[in-house]
């Protein structure tokens, strides 16, 4: 499938533990929906200059409980808008994890990789092969399988649901 999310190769940007979604995208910007407008405020107080350092295709690495707090999907939109294409963490909050997967941003859970990945250096995340690689070191994260893998294979939950609804409509038309 053309939209499928799989291999991401980019530079690593490291953050610490317990990064909440208020830190990723503060509440006062939540009436905004335009990705560029949201990206302009991404991590603005926790990591000033983050937005300027990130290039399209880069990888965010963080510690425990990443994305905890508010369910705001704006946080994921903001990270994608600045160019982040994969996230590696020790652990992620449930709603953030789902939001990211739903928008085609893979979140790989690997305490070892999250500890070992070097800042500013290039790494490769492969969803289907289930590997994270940097400078010849390979880590194996918790595999993204089942519905999560199916969503990423479609490029996101919007695309997956669109396919399901279209298939259903086709069936209804045949039966009707």
């Amino acid at each position: 499938m053309t939209n499928a999310v799989d291999v991401v190769r980019g530079r690593v940007h490291r953050l610490g533990d317990d990064v909440d979604t208020d830190a990723i995208l503060p509440g006062r910007y939540l009436a905004l929906r335009d990705p560029a407008a949201l990206g302009a405020h991404c991590l603005e107080s926790l990591a000033p200059g983050f937005r300027g350092r990130v290039r399209e295709g880069d990888i965010l690495v963080a510690g425990r409980n990443f994305g905890n707090g508010s369910s705001r999907e704006h946080a994921v939109i903001a990270l994608k808008a600045v160019g982040i294409r994969a996230i590696v963490v020790v652990s992620a909050a449930r709603i953030f994890f789902r939001n990211a997967i739903n928008l085609g941003l893979p979140v790989m859970v690997s305490p070892e990789a999250a500890a070992g990945l070097l800042d500013s250096e290039t790494a490769t995340v492969s969803v289907v092969a289930n590997t994270i690689e940097q400078n010849g070191t390979i880590w194996r994260p918790k595999r993204l399988d089942g519905e999560v893998a199916a969503i990423l294979a479609c490029g996101g939950l919007m695309q997956r649901t669109r396919e399901l609804l279209a298939a259903q409509e086709g069936e209804d038309a045949e039966n009707g």
């Binding site: 009436a31 369910s71 909050a93 939001n99 996101g156 939950l157 649901t161």
Partner: protein, 424 residues
Amino acid sequence: MSPRTIAEKIIATHAIEGFVAAGGIATVTPDILMLNDVSGPLAFEQFDAMGAKAPAEPARVVLIADHFAPASNIDSATAIGALRGFARKHGLAHFHEPGRGGIEHTLLDELGLVGHGSIVFGADSHTCTAGAFNALGIGFGSTDLAAALATGRLWLRVPETIRVELTGEPGRYVTGKDVILHVIRQIGVDGAADAALEFGGPGLAGLGMDARMAIANMAVEAGADTCAFEGDAASTAHMAHRGRAACAPVLPDADAVYRARLEINLSGLSPIVACPPSPGAGVTVAELRGQRVDQVYVGNCANGTMTDLRQVAEVLRGRRIGEHVRMIVVPATQRIWREALAEGLLDIIAAAGAAISTPTCGACFGGHMGILAAGEIAIATTNRNFRGRMGHPDSQVFLASAWVAAASAVAGEIVSPESLEAVP
């Protein structure tokens, strides 16, 4: 059938696919789908992009304008307009805005839309508040809710359960807020990750429905997927009061399997304040002696109830708010606002020098109506004190009960109501 916790039982009755035991994946049809003016507009864009024509279950959809309502600027007016437009287009009965609404989680109960054994999927992390009513509230993001709107179902991983056994009776100034702040400082801000928090035990009898809401509301601050209180006589009476058909409470099986157990003797608790920037950083009020506050905020989806307003009025009756402090009080719904007016609470609060606002999320998430400037310190009955949550990244928020917040408004520093001088 294997023994089950409350969460497993409620999910089982709503699952259309999947084996329902902790760790398994289930496809679930919720009773209610709730979205607000922040999560809704994004969800509707996704809903349209999915090619969905109409919600699968329009009668189950509840749209509430609360975060930026009444609109704080043109962007938020546009967002609320998107919510209103979706409701009109699809003929939804449940669209609520200021003057006839309130903050979503409080309003949902007030509307009688949640009760024993029901499931709410909400595009808001504090949907777990529904746990107070022996229901399951599960928070999601906008795209998940868009898919649920379109198809009437959503997949989830069935959480393990952590059992919190309550015993004893709380002291005069010990509230639901203190119970949950105690739980979070004990297990940590991700201590309940991938789990449901289940509350029950003999101590439940000493906690009213408002206190239970304050507890369930902050389950997500312990990282919980969801929360469930045992149903009892109080929740049964409450359901009748809200006009819901009677239905038996869902209780856990005696031999249900728990990831962990916690026992809390309510009589041993004292008021707790969570220090910035973590809801898990709870300390006793005494440890904060001398801590200055610039703003006191009483409100939010679980602590803008009649119980909270009565506590505030009791402290403020015959007293004045400190000279260098400002206080903002936000009844959570229009009905609570009117009830507090009729009971004379709003007059006592206003006479003491507090500003009373229309129901809104407002400053709770740093939206509007009480934003903090750099260097300012607030004490609030809200649920998050992350850096910059209520405004400038260099402002600070302490979390506490309405008792402690009101007493601190009088003193200008964090104190317990006991330490205020008696009113002459």
